[in-house]
C-alpha cells in the first residue's frame, strides 16, 4: 500500500497540489483563518466540546453504519452503508458548516457567505446560521436556482438570502467565483464557508478535518460490527468532501479507497470526471485536477447529480490519485439512476443521486470482490431532494424525449 505523507505542508501543499491562488487581498484573511483554526483545534477544548455536542444533539451523530443484507447478496460481499443521509438536513454537508460557523463566530465574524450547487451546502449553511443567530447569504447559479427551486425555498425559510448568479455558465463554478468576489470585497467582517475540500489553504485541510468524523465513526463501527477493518471504502466525489471525510481516518490502513466521479453522459461526452479525465490546473484558489481546454479555459461540467456537477476537485484527492493511495472511477448518469432505484427497492433507502454513483460502482463489481472483506459505501445524502427531478426525467424518457 502507498504511504501518504503528512499533508498539507506549511505552504498548504499536498505534494505538488493545493496552495493559495487567490488575490493578494485575501492572503491576510487566509493567514488569520489558518491561525484561528489551529488555535481552536489545538488549544481550545471548549470549541471541540461544543462542536461534538452539537453534532450529537443537533445533527444526530453518530450516524449509523447499516449492514445492507440484500445489496450484499447481489454484490457477493458484505456491504455496509455509512448513513450520512440520516443527518439533520439530509447530507454530510452539515458536519462542515457547523464546524466552520462555530469558528466564524469565534473569529468575531458576523456575516456568513457560501456557494451552493444543488443547494445542499446552502441549506446546511442557512441552517447553522439560524442555529447560531448569524446572517447568511448564499450564491447559487441561475441554472441551479431553477433546477433546485425547493432548496432555494428552504434557504429562504431558514432566513438566508439567495443571490442568483448569471455570469459564466450560471452553475456552481460561477457561484463559487461570485462568493470569492464577495469575500474579497467584504473580507473584514465576512466569513466564507466553502462547501467542500476545495479552495485555498487552509480550506481543504479544514473541511477534511471537519468531515473526518465520518471515517472515524465508520472505523469504530465496522470494527465492532464485522470484527475487522473494511477491505474497501467507496464514496462519491464532487469537490470531494464526503469522500475525504471517509478516507482520511483509513489512510494508514490496508483499505482500498475508491472515489467515484460523475461520468455524466459518458466520458466521451459531457461529464464531471475531473480526476479521471481532467488535467492539473488552478481553479478557485488551488492547484488540482480540473476539466479545461488546452488553453486553460475551464469547461462546464455535466452530471445528472447537481452535487457532482463541478469541473474541479479538492487537491488532496489529486495527491491521492498521483500517489496511488486512492483510485478514482466514473459512473454515468444512467448507471447512477439505476442504482437510485436498486437501493430504494432492495434496502428501503432512497439515496441522493450523488451517493447513488458510489452505490452503482459497487453494484458493478458484483462477483468480483472478496467474499469476506467488508465494503463501506458513504451514503452521503438522502434522495428526497432528487425525487422530483428523477420523476420528471423518467416521464420525459417515457414520452420519447432525450433525457438531460
Amino acid at each position: 500500500m502507498t504511504r501518504v505523507a503528512r499533508v498539507p505542508d506549511r505552504h498548504g501543499r499536498f505534494g505538488r497540489f493545493g496552495g493559495r491562488y487567490v488575490p493578494e487581498t485575501l492572503i491576510p484573511a487566509l493567514v488569520e483563518l489558518e491561525r484561528a483554526y489551529q488555535e481552536v483545534v489545538v488549544h481550545d477544548p471548549a470549541f471541540t466540546r461544543e462542536l461534538r455536542g452539537l453534532l450529537r444533539d443537533y445533527v444526530g451523530r453518530p450516524s449509523p453504519l447499516t449492514y445492507a443484507a440484500r445489496i450484499s447478496d447481489v454484490v457477493g460481499a458484505p456491504v455496509y452503508l455509512k448513513r450520512e443521509d440520516l443527518n439533520h438536513t439530509g447530507a454530510h454537508k452539515i458536519n462542515n458548516t457547523l464546524g466552520q460557523a462555530l469558528l466564524a463566530r469565534r473569529m468575531g465574524k458576523t456575516r456568513l457567505i457560501a456557494e451552493t450547487g444543488a443547494g445542499q451546502h446552502g441549506v446546511a449553511t442557512a441552517t447553522v446560521a439560524a442555529l447560531l443567530g448569524m446572517r447568511a447569504e448564499v450564491y447559487m447559479g441561475q441554472v441551479d436556482v431553477e433546477r433546485q427551486a425547493l432548496n432555494v425555498y428552504r434557504m429562504n425559510l431558514l432566513g438566508a438570502a439567495v443571490h442568483p448568479v448569471t455570469g459564466g455558465t450560471a452553475t456552481l463554478k460561477d457561484a463559487t467565483n461570485e462568493a470569492i468576489r464577495d469575500w474579497v470585497t467584504n473580507v473584514r467582517d465576512t466569513y466564507y464557508i466553502i462547501g467542500s475540500v476545495v479552495g485555498p489553504h487552509p480550506y481543504p485541510a479544514m473541511v477534511r478535518d471537519f468531515q473526518s468524523v465520518i471515517g472515524q465513526e465508520a472505523r469504530r463501527q465496522i470494527t465492532k460490527m464485522a470484527g475487522r477493518l473494511p477491505g474497501m471504502a467507496v464514496a462519491p466525489v464532487g469537490g470531494g468532501s464526503n469522500a475525504m471525510g471517509l478516507f482520511y481516518p483509513f489512510r494508514h490502513d490496508p483499505v482500498d479507497l475508491v472515489g467515484v466521479e460523475a461520468a455524466g453522459e459518458g466520458l466521451q461526452g459531457r461529464h464531471a470526471a475531473s480526476l479521471v479525465r481532467g488535467r492539473p490546473g488552478v481553479l478557485h484558489g488551488a492547484f488540482s485536477y480540473l476539466l479545461q481546454t488546452d488553453e486553460g479555459q475551464v469547461l462546464p461540467a455535466h452530471s445528472v447529480s447537481a452535487g457532482l456537477d463541478y469541473p474541479g476537485v479538492g487537491p488532496e484527492h489529486a495527491y491521492y490519485r498521483e500517489t496511488g493511495r486512492a483510485r478514482y472511477e466514473a459512473i454515468t448518469d444512467a448507471e447512477a439512476l439505476e442504482a437510485f432505484h436498486r437501493l430504494s427497492e432492495l434496502e428501503g433507502i432512497i439515496p441522493a443521486l450523488e451517493s447513488a454513483h458510489a452505490v452503482a460502482w459497487v453494484l458493478k463489481q458484483a462477483g468480483r470482490l472478496p467474499v469476506d472483506a467488508p465494503v463501506i459505501i458513504n451514503l452521503s445524502g438522502r434522495g428526497d431532494k432528487d425525487v422530483d427531478q428523477v420523476a420528471a426525467l423518467e416521464r420525459r424518457a417515457r414520452s420519447g424525449e432525450v433525457g438531460g
Binding site: 505538488r16 488575490p23 493578494e24 455570469g167 467565483n177 470585497t185 473580507v187 488553453e295 486553460g296 479555459q297
Partner: protein, 305 residues
C-alpha cells in the same frame, strides 16, 4: 508549479534598452519628467474582436497612455467585476484563442506603448509557463500581472519571467501587511496597488481611503506604485495620480468600448485623452509638492522613483 517562498528576492535581470524592465522604467520616468503620474489604461484582448486589439493599443498610445494593460480572457475571472467579466465572456464566445493573442500583440507592440499582460494563472500553466513567457517576450510584452498569483505562490513564475527580462508585477492591497509591503518594496517594474478590497469595476465615488492607501504604499515601497481597481473618471485619476506614480483604468474604459463597438479605437482614443488631460500637471494645485515634501520630511531619500 511548486510553491516557493514569497519573501525570496527576484534575480536582478540584465536590462537592455529594449528589455521589458527597461521599457517599463522608461515609461514611468517619462511621466515623472512631465510632472504627472503614468496613465495605464486596460483593455480586454478579443473584445470586441482580436483584430481590433492593435488599433485600440495604438489609439491608447496616441491619446497619451504611458503603458497599456492587455487583459487575457479567462472563463473564471474571480478578481473582476461585471464589466470586465462580460468583455471576457464575449471574447471567448467570439472564438478568441490564446494562441492567436501573441501574434496580434506582436503586430501591435511596435508602435504602441509598453504592454503588460493581465492574465489569470491557469491559462499560463495550461499553455506551459515557459512557452507563455517566451511568446509574450517575443511579441514585445514587457510584463505580467497575475491577479490570482499572490506573492507566496509567485516565486517560480517570477524567476522565469526575470530570466526573460519580463516583470512579474506584484500586487498590494489595503489588507496587505507591512511585511508584505516590505517584501515588494524593491525590484523592477512597479507595484500594482489594489485601491479597494474588492473586484474591478466602475465606481461613482472614490473611496476616501484610497488616497491614504496610496500614501501608505508610497511611504513603504521604493519602486513606482500604480493604483487601480475602481478608478473611473478624469477627476478620480487626477486625485489618485497626485499621490501615486501611476493610475490604472479598466472597467470604465471597457464600458466605453462597449458603448461604441463599431469603432472601439475611437472610444479608446477619446476616453484615454480625456483622462490624460485631467492628469496634466497644474502648478496652481499644490498636491504633488506637498506630497514630495512629506516624503522628504519622512527622512527618505530623494525622488529615486
Amino acid at each position: 508549479m511548486k510553491g516557493t517562498k514569497g519573501s525570496e528576492r527576484r534575480e536582478a535581470p540584465k536590462t537592455t534598452a529594449s528589455s521589458g524592465t527597461a521599457r517599463i522604467a522608461a515609461a514611468f520616468a517619462s511621466a515623472r519628467a512631465g510632472k504627472r503620474a503614468a496613465l495605464m489604461p486596460y483593455v480586454t484582448a478579443g473584445y470586441p474582436t482580436l483584430a481590433s486589439l492593435g488599433p485600440q493599443l495604438r489609439a491608447a498610445g496616441r491619446a497619451g497612455a504611458d503603458l497599456v494593460e492587455v487583459g487575457v480572457p479567462f472563463s473564471d475571472p474571480l478578481a473582476d467585476g461585471p464589466v470586465v467579466q462580460q468583455a471576457a465572456e464575449e471574447a471567448l464566445r467570439g472564438g478568441y484563442r490564446l494562441g492567436e493573442l501573441f501574434s496580434a500583440i506582436r503586430e501591435a507592440a511596435r508602435d504602441a506603448p509598453p504592454l503588460v499582460l493581465l492574465t489569470y494563472i491557469n491559462p499560463v500553466l495550461a499553455y506551459g509557463a515557459e512557452r507563455f513567457l517566451d511568446e509574450a517576450r517575443d511579441a514585445g510584452v514587457t510584463g505580467l500581472i497575475v491577479p490570482d498569483l499572490p506573492l507566496v505562490e509567485s516565486g517560480a513564475l517570477g524567476r522565469a519571467a526575470a530570466r526573460r527580462d519580463l516583470v512579474l508585477v506584484p500586487m498590494a492591497a489595503p489588507t496587505s501587511t507591512d511585511a508584505h509591503l516590505a517584501a515588494v518594496a524593491e525590484g523592477p517594474g512597479f507595484v500594482y496597488g489594489v485601491s479597494v478590497t474588492g473586484v474591478t469595476g466602475v465606481r461613482e465615488r472614490l473611496d476616501p481611503e484610497v488616497l491614504a492607501f496610496a500614501d501608505r504604499l508610497k511611504a513603504k515601497i521604493r519602486r513606482p506604485v500604480a493604483i487601480g481597481f475602481g478608478i473611473s473618471t478624469p477627476n478620480q485619476a487626477r486625485e489618485v495620480g497626485a499621490r501615486a506614480d501611476g493610475v490604472i483604468i479598466g472597467s470604465a474604459l471597457v464600458r466605453a468600448i462597449g458603448q461604441r463597438l463599431s469603432c472601439p479605437e475611437a472610444a479608446v482614443e477619446e476616453f484615454v485623452a480625456r483622462i490624460r488631460q485631467a492628469m496634466e500637471p497644474d502648478d496652481a494645485t499644490p498636491t504633488r509638492s506637498v506630497f514630495d515634501n512629506r516624503r522628504i520630511a519622512a527622512g527618505e531619500e530623494g525622488p529615486e522613483r
